[in-house]
Symmetry: C2
Subunit: 275 residues, 2 copies
DNA sequence: CTGATGGGTTGATGTAAATCAATGCGGTCA
DNA sequence: TGACCGCATTGATTTACATCAACCCATCAG
């Protein structure tokens, strides 16, 4: 439990290209695993121009020190459906999502799966402490992440105390979200869960760094199966509940991954715990 | 979201005695609320002799600086069933549990309740960030806590960077526990939940700072109702499941709050996800 | 064009756990 | 002493959701 940061034993890797199959955290991936890599951290504006820097943990690093950040960050592109953190594997890296959406999950031996959260751009991954990852992570759509080795992250933390405070803030926010999710999973009905989920997704879209949803229009990148695994339900129940909400005039269900929230008020009544 | 620490506006309070009814976080408490207070932080050995210091966040403060800690800590005794953090109330303080067990919970408007965790001695409370508490806290048995104002805590963090890292570690551990609980609540059956709970409680007893359970003997301070609210079940289901486990020769259910684990192996098979 | 595949919806049926209900038991208070 | 209360256990019944199953509609490969 000591040796919190800097305990990593990862071999130095190329700054410019990585083949995912070399990463131990991807051994469970069965699909073809060629991974495209963005240009590495050679130029300083790699971080300066980062679209999520203003909203991510990196924002606490002063522009004058930005090169330090760029040195240790390796940008990686993960294609849809690909996993890049395996539950239980040695925790060698931290990640910062720069685009796309990631699902985080835990699984039981028989395959039952609980998605513990969705990570949008700006989200920091890998905080869970110990020598191995406590959860898995998989790209939903095309995802870009900044990868930091645990070791180098430790050095950064020593040099930039602000970073540590920011990580604590990040962790605390996660904790609040986790507690809300426990209330949802333990005590809410299917309808309440789906309503809460839709409102949360709308809220997330209103945050800086996300494309703003206009007129209640949501673009959910995840499948019904993902939503079910997130809400502790089955695909069928999610589908039926969405259909019921459509019938109630609460939402409109578009083709593909589009859902439009027609009545926020009705959903809020539901989510708060009425039926 | 900024003004993380040090945003508190709490008036200076007596170091020696506190009446709980003066605390805004206790307005919801209907029972008589006279609270006994331990001798305050006047002498330096207040913290030096603290039984949980070795295992709590306070352990990172050097003995030479211990007086700084004692200055800002106020020891409070909370009697059984009494709440000392109200969900949604202004978050003015942090707490460190020094003895007894605390339940942390969130509630829906109609009274449904989810216990998000039990806090044992050494546990740090209040990490959830924002101006108001995201959860409530209530003493299960007689509880002693060290209280720190948010403001003073901010000063401590500025002066002792190690403290910040320790808090991050604490938060990360909480996060792992929360993820496990999400898996439990979303995907495990009643039997699996109760088995996981019993094993967790045994594990918690093995940690330093807790009375070591001998021969699988557990003393659970919480009621069946608390267990149910923690596991997302009803009282009846918890009771039935414990009876079933007794019938299976997995446990023995004693009078009051005593449970003896007879077969850890059988419980582990259950908890891992077999029926 | 055609069959396969993955995601989604909807219907019929089953079941784990909730709900409703009765009973026991150990405190505590009048 | 007896009435009451909180907590726990156990039984009967109900129900929300899971499971099983059929089907639609894209997309994609051959």
């Amino acid at each position: 439990m000591s040796g919190y940061f800097g305990a990593g034993t990862r071999a130095p890797e190329s700054e410019l290209e990585i083949i995912m199959s070399d990463m131990p955290s991807c051994q469970f991936e069965s699909r073809p695993r060629r991974i495209v890599i963005g240009s590495g951290g050679v130029q300083a504006d790699f971080c300066t121009n980062c679209s999520v820097r203003p909203t991510s943990v990196c924002s606490v690093i002063e522009p004058s020190d930005i090169s330090r950040l760029a040195e240790v960050a390796v940008e990686t592109i993960v294609s849809p459906g690909r996993g890049f953190i395996e539950e239980g594997a040695p925790a060698t890296d931290f990640f910062n999502v720069t685009s796309g959406t990631v699902k985080l999950f835990k699984a039981l031996p028989d395959g039952r799966r609980q998605i513990t959260g969705f990570a949008a751009p700006g989200h920091f991954l890998g905080l869970a402490v110990s020598d191995s990852y406590a959860f898995g992570a998989e790209a939903i759509d095309t995802v870009r992440v900044c990868r930091f080795s645990r070791e180098k992250m430790g050095e950064l933390l020593d040099d930039f105390p602000k970073l540590e405070r920011r990580l604590l803030e990040e962790a605390s926010n996660e904790l609040v979200a986790a507690q809300n999710q426990m209330l949802l999973l333990g005590r809410k009905t299917a309808r309440e869960r789906v309503a809460s989920f839709l409102l949360d997704q709308m809220q997330a879209g209103l945050l800086p760094g996300q494309p703003p949803p206009s007129g209640g229009r949501l673009h959910l990148p995840m499948t019904r199966g993902d939503i079910a695994d997130y809400l502790g339900l089955t695909i069928e129940t999610v589908s039926r509940t969405l259909s019921w909400m459509r019938g109630q005039g609460m939402i409109e269900v578009g083709k593909g991954y589009a859902i439009t929230i027609v009545s926020t008020a009705k959903l809020e009544v539901l989510a708060a715990g009425n039926s």
